[in-house]
């Protein structure tokens, strides 16, 4: 985003209905000053970010929280010029914290119709493709999702995609965690493992399980950062704009390439 455009946006946000970009009265100098004030105000405010383990996207070694998604968010906050802290919590707790505590945001969460009203949203933090994986010794050709109807699909508790499949009447077998599904598939206790492609690749490798390409990549999810409703909406808008810019200038793609984790 250009400097002048950015300035206009800030003015329009502050004085909606009273500002026209075409009005010459807002000079570049005046606009630049407003932008600096705006940015400096934002810099003084800070955000508390809460996330949860989701290997390999968010991982932990000792007190160090790392992973490709952490790198994305670090760069996002750096470019936005906003101070922040980052903490881990169990997924449900992380959601509750951000929903009920001012100046808190949680990521990466699914932006569902039910959750829409409880957060301000910054999206997409993560775009995932979800596949159905069969055992290496057993081909289950799938042309469409409905071809998976006769089979038992492995998912994990709390998975939005598991619930999505169940809502269509598929037979879904839930493990307590996604990493357990690699073992269940190896032992043929499930016919197909429903998982996002990044996690499946990583977890199978960790389990020394030779995973084939998915029989079908059947669904795409877009996950977001959900911020408490009290967070200044101008700050949310700023972070959102920066995030879009990071996709457009391929920063996000480069970060994923460094981790060899393109979806």
């Amino acid at each position: 985003m250009g400097l002048i455009t950015h300035c206009r946006n800030r003015l329009a946000q502050r004085y909606p209905g009273r500002v026209s970009c075409r009005k010459a009265m807002y000079s570049f100098v005046c606009g630049f000053a407003v932008m600096l004030v705006s940015l400096s105000l934002q810099a003084k405010e800070s955000l508390s970010l809460v996330t949860f383990l989701e290997r390999p996207l968010v991982d932990q070694q000792g007190s160090d929280v790392h992973g490709v998604l952490i790198d994305v968010v670090k760069e996002l906050m750096r470019r936005s010029g906003i101070d922040y802290t980052l903490n881990l919590a169990p997924p449900k707790r992380a959601l509750v914290i951000a929903r009920t505590t001012s100046k808190h945001c949680v990521f990466p969460i699914e932006r569902s119709q039910e959750r829409e009203v409880f957060f301000q949203w910054i999206t997409p933090i993560l775009i995932s493709r979800h596949g159905l994986y069969s055992h290496p010794d057993r081909d289950i050709p799938l042309m469409t999702l409905s071809d998976a109807r006769p089979y038992t699909l492995g998912s994990y508790l709390g998975s939005g995609v598991g619930e999505y499949l169940e809502s269509f009447g598929f037979n879904v077998d839930y493990a307590s965690r996604n990493d357990l599904n690699a073992g269940k598939l190896a032992k043929k206790r499930i016919d197909l493992w429903a998982s996002d492609t990044i996690s499946a690749k990583y977890l199978a490798k960790e389990d020394r399980f030779n995973l084939k390409a998915p029989e079908l990549v059947f669904f795409t999810t877009v996950r977001a950062m959900g911020c408490n409703l009290d967070v200044d909406h101008r700050m949310v808008d700023t972070i959102q704009d920066v995030l879009f810019g990071m996709y457009k200038d391929k920063t996000i793609a480069k970060i994923y390439e460094q981790f060899d984790q393109s979806p």
Binding site: T5, G17, E116, V117, T220, F244
Partner: protein, 575 residues
């Protein structure tokens, strides 16, 4: 300025296109392709308005046109209704077998779909090669110019990827997907209307007819106006109360706070009240969202800027929504969302519902439901929606959803072309009548007028009769006055929820909503790169606008006498 192709295609041209296919089709399809196509035509694609040979010719054309794309895998997305499930599980498979292009057709909630499309627009990431996106976004697509107009495909002379028998004039919803510039931006894939649903069997009972007439002074029949709807609601909820040992209600609705509460309003509720201007599909210069335009530029939603979102008609519309919910609907209604409320009428306790999506027709036609007769015909009917006190002749009178194929400019061209072939397949005459029978979301006049639909009509409670009437042009989607549907549509549920909870009065809520709409219009204008940007009118005293003809309209008598008419009269009104 380009003009779209409507009108260029004539009956003669269409007949010639089939002759052309007949001459070339069989020569270009391999024997294997023909065998596959024949299998699908014989076992799945029946009924059809085409002869089997014409179907074979169309399939041969697809096989030939797809040759450069053979082996590719493409990904498209649509909302999750029966029509799209049929496409995702049957048509995608047929297309893959016939053309060699693998299609993954994802299904998701409408809200998620819009956000995904927005994500692709904003990030440049090619999430999907094609979207079936509601035509409510026509104002967005026209202004942002981020989609490849369907007109661009159609205008290319002798294009190898335009189905010669597409017959664009056969699509009934073409005005919904056309921008102010006359360009077709999207291709309709499925349509359903929001109509009036009622228990025809109860309304026909002599004892109830006599009791109603005695109490209200006019016949119990299809309500012509909101006053009659209110009387009928009062009659069943507060006077009849019980039928066949069951508690019955004269009204049904929903009000759970989630995005579907916004659709309850933005899906043209204010048009039924009469908030906008005369002119179809949406009212000009003020549409049913209460947004005024000058030319193609939105100039405001507040009355002080010439809009109608906080005018008397809009306040009346929301007041009636709340009042009827409290006075006449089952207590559960407040906690339901759009999906839950749509199927609720199937329980057999509701006498009428003013805001009911025909997408639920199949769901309330299941033989074991108490709203069905033993012979498979329904006890209910659907009819044109009654209008509110501010409605005038020449206005739209409700909503129609038109899920339409939409292609983004930032999708790689080869992938987009392959998806365009699949899109044409899903609406081709070979498959469209069968798809219509499965999902009851008609898009082609030829399907609606078919013998198969005539035969099916007794089972569909007036669905076929409605789509055969000109009423199909009076119930319309969100139009071109709305410059950024994803950004503006969220304002509806965020503000209406304050009225539902009782936190604010309706007048306060509508003032806030209209101000927020103006603010957002200004914000969009300042921030976005688009054509026909909003430019807000300077504020004037509200009386300046209210005293002028048209919207925003000054306060009227909101309690006129109730009027009803027969089901047949209600339909023939539009012919």
């Amino acid at each position: 300025m380009r003009t779209h192709l409507r009108g260029k295609s004539s009956a003669v041209k269409y007949a010639l296109s089939f002759c052309l296919l007949a001459m070339t089709g069989p020569q270009v399809a391999s024997a294997a392709d023909s065998a596959i196509a024949k299998k699908w035509i014989e076992h799945e694609f029946s009924p059809s308005t085409l002869t089997k040979q014409q179907q074979m010719d169309e399939m041969a054309w697809f096989a030939k046109a797809a040759e450069p794309y053979k082996g590719m895998s493409i990904r498209v997305v649509s909302e999750r209704i029966d029509t799209h499930w049929y496409e995702a599980s049957v048509l995608a498979k047929a297309f893959t077998e016939i053309t060699g292009i693998r299609v993954i057709h994802e299904l998701t909630g409408e809200d998620d779909l819009v956000k995904k499309l927005q994500t692709q627009m904003r990030t440049g990431e090619n999430l999907y090669d094609g979207y079936i996106n509601d035509s409510d976004l026509i104002g967005t697509h026209y202004r942002y110019q981020a989609v490849v107009p369907i007109s661009d495909f159609l205008e290319e002379q002798d294009s190898p990827i335009v189905l010669p028998t597409l017959d664009i004039d056969d699509f009934i919803g073409l005005s919904f997907v056309t921008g102010p510039d006359g360009i077709i931006y999207q291709l309709p894939d499925q349509q359903f209307a929001n109509l009036y649903w009622y228990r025809h069997d109860w309304f026909s009972r002599p004892d109830l007819q006599a009791k109603f007439k005695a109490q209200y002074g006019y016949p119990l029949a299809v309500p012509k106006n909101w006053a009659a709807y209110e009387d009928i609601a009062d009659f069943f909820t507060n006077h009849v109360k019980e039928l066949d040992g069951k508690r019955v209600w004269g009204h049904m609705d929903y009000a759970r706070v989630d995005p579907s509460l916004g659709w309850r309003m933005s899906d043209a509720w204010l048009s039924m009240a009469g908030a906008g201007d005369v002119g179809r599909p949406n009212g000009l210069p003020v549409d049913e969202w209460g947004i005024r335009v000058i030319g193609c530029q939105p100039v405001g939603a507040t009355v002080k800027r010439g809009g109608a979102l906080n005018g008397p008609a809009a306040i009346y519309a929301v007041n009636k929504f709340l009042e009827w919910m409290d006075r006449f609907a089952p207590p559960e209604a407040r906690s339901l969302n759009f999906t839950e409320a749509g199927e609720w009428v199937g329980k057999g306790q509701i006498a009428q519902q003013i805001f009911w999506y025909t997408a639920f027709t199949a769901a309330v036609s299941k033989p074991d439901l108490p709203v069905m007769n033993a012979d498979g015909t329904p006890k209910w009917k659907i009819a044109p929606t009654p209008h509110g006190a501010y409605w005038d002749e020449g206005m739209k009178l409700g909503y129609q959803d038109a899920g339409s194929w939409t292609f983004m400019k930032n999708t790689p061209e080869k992938r987009r072309n392959a998806a365009w072939l699949y899109a044409q397949f899903t609406v081709s005459k070979t498959v469209s009548l069968k798809k219509t029978m499965v999902g009851l979301t008609p898009i082609r006049l030829s399907d609606i007028m078919s013998q198969a639909m005539t035969k099916k009509s007794p089972e569909l409670g007036g669905f076929v009769e409605f789509y055969r009437s000109k009423g199909r042009d009076v119930w319309t989607p969100t139009g071109t006055n709305v410059p950024d549907y994803p950004r503006l549509s969220v304002l509806w549920w965020r503000h209406i929820s304050d009225a539902v909870s009782g936190k604010l009065t309706t007048t306060q809520v509508m003032n806030n909503l209209a101000e927020a709409m103006d603010d957002e219009l200004a914000y969009i204008a300042a921030r976005e790169d688009m054509i026909c940007k909003p430019v807000l009118n300077d504020p004037k005293p509200e009386s300046y606008w209210l005293e002028k003809p048209g919207a925003p309209k000054a306060k009227r008598n909101e309690s006129p006498k109730g009027e009803t008419w027969s089901y047949e009269e209600a339909l023939s009104k539009w012919d």
